[in-house]
Point group: C3
Chain length 426, copies 3
């Protein structure tokens, strides 16, 4: 009987040209297949989030001076570990135990649920939470590079991933305040992951102060990068993994509509990244009469960050536009920060923070279910919270354990060895 | 009733030893599952095409001299962006709007189809087109490295990805001339992607002329690579991503037969790559009494390019042979080009162009549906077109904007900064 | 009717709190879908095994001295090729033709089975076998780096991948002696892949002797790494690919239970890696008053090796503990080896061999089906065999073709060019 009506529908509707393109109802995937497809998407996204960190490590190691590259990589490996442990000890539960519309979840160690279906979903979420806070801290790492002491950075990473990021995330991902009160729309968590990390990075860069001799002359002094090839490879790795991460943020890959949505995410994100590089290219040529590789890299990354706030709805030309404006942002915001003597060693603040804000604010342009007011509210609330917390923790660390290496150490390079400590025998 | 016959079939047929191995008809996947599996394959292949570019960037950055590494990476990021934008502005539609057997499609901006099923397929194709032309341009980039000016290269990238490659691709992928008239068989587009790029690279290398001082002595002067570790990592990344890309070229992953085909593709490709490295290893030891890492890398890549023209049909020993001969090609073609003073900075022409031709021509050895005549016709048509177009555009650029940096700039390195232009403040 | 009972079951059972969490029986995936999901898992794992080799290449190239980086990468590309060819020529059949409980399979060239279903499974296994032996040889490569001659290494790679590893693997994967007699449990083959490679590495490092001038003073002389940024990127690539490889070792991804198991594998492995880094961090700070990047990298890798022996059963805190102890191992075993003047250029023996043993021995802590006796038996049998074979082959090579470069060559660096051999014209 059902089949009869289906055939009838096809015959009647299919004959009418306006409906001819309507997809015929598809035989759905079985429950188990749907579960497996969804699992595949979320676990693959977890692995791709690790690749983002590989890329961010390569970018920072390549862009800092040769005398500080080891210190940068050490921070990067350490923060990946600390953020994973902190998500287990506190972060995960802070996010998902918050009451609807609430502000603060419970402080307990996450334990795997006994129900198998819940366990699977919970495990995938755990990886995403752990690595989202690691990506945020990797942004901080770039901004404070070449002058910060190791242990204060490690302590901040613990605070960030156990407290700052999870509390902010609980307001959105945990259905807390922002999700309930403002219908704040941020598809892949641009203003959350990159915003929260970016504000903490800004607080750190300001409180830590600029690198020595950076602003001695009229122009900021150049700091020759250690290995631009590595940085470019890192930038391309971030490019491909952020594409995958935005796709993963769709969470579901178990229907024909999901397949379409994820295709759209990838195409829009790719075109946005291309637009970001192109705009940065043209603009640096116009302003500086030359092309600058780190700005191109950040143009691509910034565009991917911006589009990730809403990658499904924009038309192709809108995606290119959103990306292109991100390219403009990374080109002009860097010198602006320099004017305020805010020293960001790898351009992390323009690329991640400013582009995330731009991306979140522009969502309503193509997505009718979002409002400009809601987006501004979300950006302000997350920003105010993470900036305040960043200032608190960085200041606290500054006046207790101290934040900055000695001037001698900074001049010699963070990788230089103090006399007293021989290298452990590996 | 159906089940009854099935049981009967198994009982009767299963008892007969000759039929015992016949696969029993499998319960097929649902329509939605098939769609999702196919989407997964094509979108993953799109992401892996980006990884090919990561690898090609690492290879070029590692093989050029340290004074030119930034320029190489800048080209690489730029061409990825330009090829993506050009595929949107013209390339995609040029390919898929061509009439069956025709020569030229329509010049219109690609817009996403409104029908959701078409949209998904179209989006996946868009990524593949964009990145196939980017891979082609990355081949060009390697051949003309260390002496080309940035903007002429960027203009050529636009011409290549908006015109040259799409028109050639339309004759095969768009069911145009070659597909219709010659039954030309090129599974993963070896002679298209690597051939078209390779001919454009050859035209560029010849018109641009060799690097300064390269052919001053009797032997071509060595140009010490900047970072062979990075080049090797790049080579291995190309290896793994070309494996995946050939698998993705099967387009369909929704039946047991697809699973078998893709398994075969991966095994044959892996053995071909191994054969390529091994042959290059033995041959360089015999001829030069030493082993040469860049030739080994190119042996693997060249073998993967060659086998990608027909990776399903060859028996294992045929795959090894096809790969091994590619290893011979990359070892002997480089010195041959040097004899004609054609200077190819990273060995892109032997690796990509010559191995692609070899791969396309050898398809009929194992694939009965292909003919040697058809393969030669395809290689000649694509080659004549892309070489002609390459000569036209490179010559045009040479006599208008100019192609080559000044001798002082080349000696100082492309990454040296002209006095007048301070580095933008990042 | 079935639906009626289902609804009834939900109503009745769902009302009882103790049963409320029980998963309702799911509609299973179709046969073809199950086949496709399983194929996807095993082929993806094959590709990720190539990424492990990318990471190991980057780690070794980055940790050896600049004058030996090319030689290290050359070994790495070569061993990937040789292990793939050897798995085809002998390795695959040695493993899977062994009789149940037996010691030695047949020496014949592997040919693809004609039955399509078998062909698919066999192809996936072939990739895994080829790359498992390549990972083992990459461990050897690291330990003997900076002083070994190229061709003896290549010959050893052939022996390892055609004989040593497959015979040991046949006792477990081929259902041979260890699987039959001892119920030896090693989920992802930690003590097999990393153990067998590690013992061969130990034999090689001892027979080859330490690098020149390494143990001249009281403390082992430092050998400044060529590019720590590349090594760190390599370490993170190993991290993400070992996560995927452990997931792939589950072999099946076609039911809800599989989805849960793979989620658990990823979470436990990530937490173990984090624990490994953290423990190494704290311990190096306590002992040496500083943090050491190569030890952190090896802490992560060692923990992933250890947990891979049994990644499903441990509770989260057990996974962290297993990982943390691996971090302790990599920190203290290196200096211990130095005391015996066993010189391991990249710390491969502590990271891979000792952590693999630790991981295999601790399996019964969380997995009731394994016994400490069985695990010790497995470790001893594999160890005794691969160490003996390693000693035999290395000694044989030493007294025939010779193992070590000349002292002049070693001091000048393996990448230095002997006068007589000009670089081939690429």
């Amino acid at each position: 009987m059902k089949r009869f009506f289906l055939v009838l529908t096809v015959l009647v509707v299919g004959a009418h040209p306006a409906f001819a393109q309507e997809p015929i109802e598809m035989q759905p995937a079985s429950e188990t297949s749907r579960l497996l497809f969804d699992t595949l998407l979320s676990l693959s996204a977890g692995l791709m989030a690790m690749v983002v960190i590989v890329g961010l490590c390569a970018r920072e190691a390549g862009l800092v001076r040769a005398k500080n590259a080891v210190a940068s990589c050490t921070k990067m490996i350490t923060l990946t570990a600390i953020c994973s442990l902190a998500a287990w000890v506190a972060g995960y539960n802070l996010i998902f135990s918050v009451e609807p519309g609430g502000f603060l979840g419970d402080f307990v160690v996450w334990s795997v649920p006994e129900n198998e279906t819940d366990e699977r979903a919970s495990a995938a979420q755990f990886l995403q939470v752990a690595l989202a806070s690691a990506i945020g801290m990797a942004i901080v790492s770039g901004a404070v590079a070449e002058r910060i002491r190791f242990w204060p950075f490690a302590i901040f990473a613990a605070a960030y991933s156990a407290l700052i990021f999870p509390i902010a995330a609980s307001w959105i991902w945990g259905n807390g305040y922002l999700a309930a009160a403002w219908k704040y729309s941020d598809f892949a968590g641009a203003a959350l992951i990159h915003g929260c990390g970016g504000w903490a990075a800004l607080a750190g860069a300001v409180i830590l102060g600029p690198r020595l001799a950076r602003y001695d002359g009229e122009e900021p002094r150049e700091q020759p990068p250690s290995n631009v090839g590595l940085a470019a490879v890192g930038g391309l790795l971030i490019w491909v993994s952020l594409l995958a991460l935005s796709a993963g943020a769709h969470l579901s890959f178990s229907s024909a509509a999901d397949a379409v949505a994820i295709s759209r995410i990838l195409v829009n994100s790719q075109l946005a990244a291309a637009g970001g590089v192109f705009a940065a290219l043209v603009l640096t040529e116009i302003i500086y009469k030359r092309v600058d590789l780190p700005i191109l890299i950040n143009g691509a990354v910034g565009a991917l960050v911006a589009i990730s706030a809403g990658p499904i709805e924009p038309a192709l030309w809108q995606a290119v536009t959103i990306g292109a404006f991100s390219g403009v942002i990374v080109t002009v915001t860097g010198p602006l920060l320099d004017r305020f003597r805010i020293d960001d060693a790898v351009g992390a603040i323009p690329t991640h923070l400013v582009c995330a804000l731009w991306g979140a604010l522009i969502v309503p342009w193509s997505n009718e279910s979002a409002t400009y007011l809601g987006q501004i509210a979300g950006a302000v609330v997350i920003g105010a919270f993470s900036l305040t917390m960043g200032i608190l923790f960085w200041t606290g660390l500054r006046y207790t354990v101290g934040l900055r290496v000695t001037a001698e150490r900074e001049l010699a390079g963070l990788d230089s060895r103090p006399e007293a400590s021989p290298r452990p025998r590996l």
